[in-house]
């Protein structure tokens, strides 16, 4: 489904990915782990570029419109599925049909009561859940997420990750929390300095590999 063969990516003079080879099959739940600057975000974006149209992305900095309501931000996930006139109408007056579709998603994320609140007035955690809701509302088979639970408290983070992995067929996410990665992913890719250090099921990831991955440069 997603195939990268010997791919390198650089920003100006900095090499962010070095000869990466990754194959991801449909239905896999993959977590990318590694220290900051390992190239996780770059790898996510590179994979996302391969299937942009049929994927959703939860951005690390949410990419929300703070001036619009939670409802409208979530609705943006399917802007390309509607006619422009309908989108404009929905911007002026939220359509009942869309409210009915968006409400259950927000409810499952504990955000139903904030549906018509301005995003800019919400906490970081609530904004992050809005970004997740937008990705879920896109109703596609593949979801990419860059640190999707970094602002959510540990208990709720587990619930949110469970929801994402249960409702979406293929999930590729980067996580800072190794525990959450081991708990919710079926495949762990450890990255360091733009290279894949290991790529294996969570049960095979041991302390030695982790300390090798996170050792100071």
């Amino acid at each position: 489904m997603f195939r990268l063969q010997d791919v390198s990516v650089s920003y100006k003079d900095t090499l962010a990915l070095k000869n990466i080879t990754v194959h991801i099959q449909e239905g896999e739940k993959v977590a990318l782990i590694g220290p900051s600057g390992a190239g996780k975000t770059t790898l996510l974006y590179t994979l996302y570029e391969l299937e942009k149209q049929s994927s959703a992305f939860v951005h690390q900095h949410y990419a929300l419109v703070p001036q619009l309501s939670v409802f409208h931000n979530v609705y943006m996930g399917r802007l390309d599925h509607h006619r422009t006139t309908y989108n404009l109408l929905n911007l002026l007056k939220p359509q009942k049909k869309e409210i009915e579709k968006i409400y259950p998603i927000l409810d499952s994320l504990g955000m139903a009561e904030n549906m018509f609140k301005r995003v800019g007035a919400l906490s970081g955690g609530q904004q992050q859940r809005t970004a997740i809701a937008r990705a879920m509302f896109r109703q596609v088979d593949t979801l990419f997420a860059d640190e999707p639970v970094s602002s959510i408290d540990p208990h709720q983070a587990g619930t949110v990750l469970q929801l994402i992995t249960r409702t979406t067929k293929t999930v590729i996410l980067s996580l800072h929390s190794v525990d959450l990665a081991l708990q919710f992913a079926e495949r762990i890719i450890g990255m360091r300095l733009g290279q894949v250090i290991f790529d294996m099921p969570p049960e095979k990831v041991d302390d030695r590999l982790l300390s090798q991955l996170y050792q100071p440069c």
Binding site: K52, Q53, F57, H59, H61, Y62, A63, L64, V65, P66, Q67, L68, H72, N73, M76, G77, R78, L79, D80, H82, T84, N87, L88, L91, A131, R134, R138
Partner: protein, 479 residues
């Protein structure tokens, strides 16, 4: 190099009468000019509405060079010059006033809206699916982000449009300027000040009666009011653009033989252009540049003197508020009216123009630099005395922004310097006004094109300087 001579016989006597007028305003006179007040507001609303619509459309294509050049050109020509151009085309009716405001403001809005869009936060667009239609993309991912800035700038421009609308009366349109000029000329200073005080009140009260939700109602009413008075002869429009503004040698044979025949003798046209440049163009450009440069330096000095008066690090309480109101009054008075008043006092020379443009811009920049200085947190070891604090703590930290503001206004000063020629100072406006009075529209348009070109050169130079110095007009203090 500048002519600074005072040519009136009794300037102090006139100043005394002006001062008496200031404290004895005749508000009954305002009642008599109520229609002019209404016209001033109506022209401003119609003009600003049209320019917002057209400017918004052009802003979408602003990255396209021809659009950028077109906008630079239309905003480089002052609204009074536009009024002088439109007068023979549409006649002395409200359409002339509305277009004179709408055309240059369109160029301004297109530029500023495009800049706001460019400098806005683009990150929300990452959340918009990439195959979304551009219109949906704009309304969901862009407009909400820039809306507050657009609204803020547009309402500021409404204030400017009211000032522009008022001064259009000086070229004969039925707005406040018309009555101000008459009152000035007749020495009725109590009437002058009553009109000015009401005008200040009008501007100061804008935020109370121009609310976002009902502003469309004002626009509809404004258009309804002027729609009855607008008359337009397409014959005149066509004749103006295809005949009257063509260089005289191209039309001469037709005029002499009583037809509208056009001949294309380029040598004669070239000679015609050279002649205008040598007799009036170069002299006008020189005087305009000299005046602009004196004003640029003068404005800089006034700004540096004025900003501590409204800055919390130097003034507190009543003195600060008093200074702030003085600056508001000076900047609310259109520079054209200030120049006209000074001209009555000292006669025609550069002096009234220097003071008028310098004071107006100094008040604006003094306010902005003061605002900027207010954002500064003084260091723990900042000098205690005001003079040392000014020179060694505050001024060095606001100097970058001060220069940015000053160069940003350079283009405006140039536009104002040119236009004040209409009042008898030998800048480009003087020659343009003379050409129009002599019914030589070809010459007037040619000189207006030179003015626009000069303005565009200054605008570009200012941008290059600001880029080189890495200074921005945004209110962010350097640490």
């Amino acid at each position: 190099m500048a002519d600074l001579e005072v040519t009136t016989l009794h300037p102090w006597q006139e100043l005394q009468r002006l001062a008496i007028g200031a404290v004895t305003p005749d508000f009954m006179a305002v009642y008599e000019v109520k229609q002019a007040f209404l016209n001033t507001v109506i022209f401003a609303f119609c003009g600003i509405f049209l320019s917002i619509v057209m400017g918004s459309v052009l802003a979408f294509f602003f990255e396209w060079k021809p659009v950028r050049l077109f906008c630079a050109f239309i905003r480089a020509v002052h609204e009074i010059f536009w009024a002088l151009i439109f007068l023979p085309v549409v006649g002395l009716n409200p359409l002339c006033g509305v277009l004179a405001i709408a055309v240059p403001y369109t160029g301004i809005f297109a530029k500023v809206y495009a800049e706001i869009r460019q400098e806005s936060d683009h990150s929300p667009l990452a959340g918009v699916p990439f195959q979304t239609h551009p219109i949906s993309r704009f309304f969901y991912g862009v407009l909400p982000v820039i809306y507050a800035d657009i609204k803020h700038y547009s309402s500021y421009r409404l204030e400017c449009a009211l000032r522009s609308s008022a001064i259009l009366g000086f070229v004969g349109l039925p707005t406040l300027g018309f009555h101000l000029e008459t009152a000035f000329r007749e020495g009725l200073y109590s009437e002058v000040f009553a009109i000015l005080y009401c005008f200040y009140f009008l501007i100061a009260s804008l935020k109370y009666w121009v609310k976002e939700k009902i502003s469309w109602l004002y626009v509809v009413l404004a258009f309804a009011f002027i729609s009855k008075e607008i008359s337009l002869s397409w014959g005149n429009v066509t004749r103006f653009f295809t005949y009257e503004i063509l260089p005289w040698p191209m039309r001469r044979e037709g005029v002499l033989s009583g037809t509208q025949d056009i001949s294309f003798s380029w040598d004669q046209v070239w000679g015609w252009g050279q002649d205008i440049l040598q007799t009036e163009g170069f002299a006008g450009v020189w005087e305009t540049v000299v005046l602009t440069q004196i004003v640029l330096v003068g404005t800089g000095v006034l700004t540096l003197l004025a900003f501590p008066l409204v800055c919390r690090h130097f003034q507190q309480g009543f003195p600060k508020h008093f200074s702030r109101y003085i600056l508001i009054i000076i900047r609310t008075t259109p520079e054209y009216i200030l120049a006209y008043a000074f001209l009555q006092l000292w006669g025609p020379s550069m002096l009234p123009a220097i003071l008028a443009i310098g004071l107006h811009n100094g008040a604006i920049l003094g306010h902005l630099t003061g605002q900027n200085a207010d954002l500064i947190q003084l260091r723990a070891d900042a000098p205690k005395g005001k003079i040392n604090r000014y020179f060694f703590e505050v001024l060095p930290r606001v100097y970058g922004q001060f220069l940015a503001f000053l160069f940003y206004r350079w283009e405006v000063m140039m536009r104002e310097s040119a236009i004040l020629g209409i009042l008898g100072i030998y800048t480009l406006g003087f020659y343009i006004d003379s050409a129009i009075s002599d019914d030589k529209m070809d010459k007037a348009v040619f000189l207006i094109l030179i003015t626009a070109l000069l303005n565009m050169i200054i605008d570009t130079t200012s941008q290059i300087i600001r880029k080189r110095l890495k200074i921005s007009t945004k209110l962010v203090t350097s640490s």
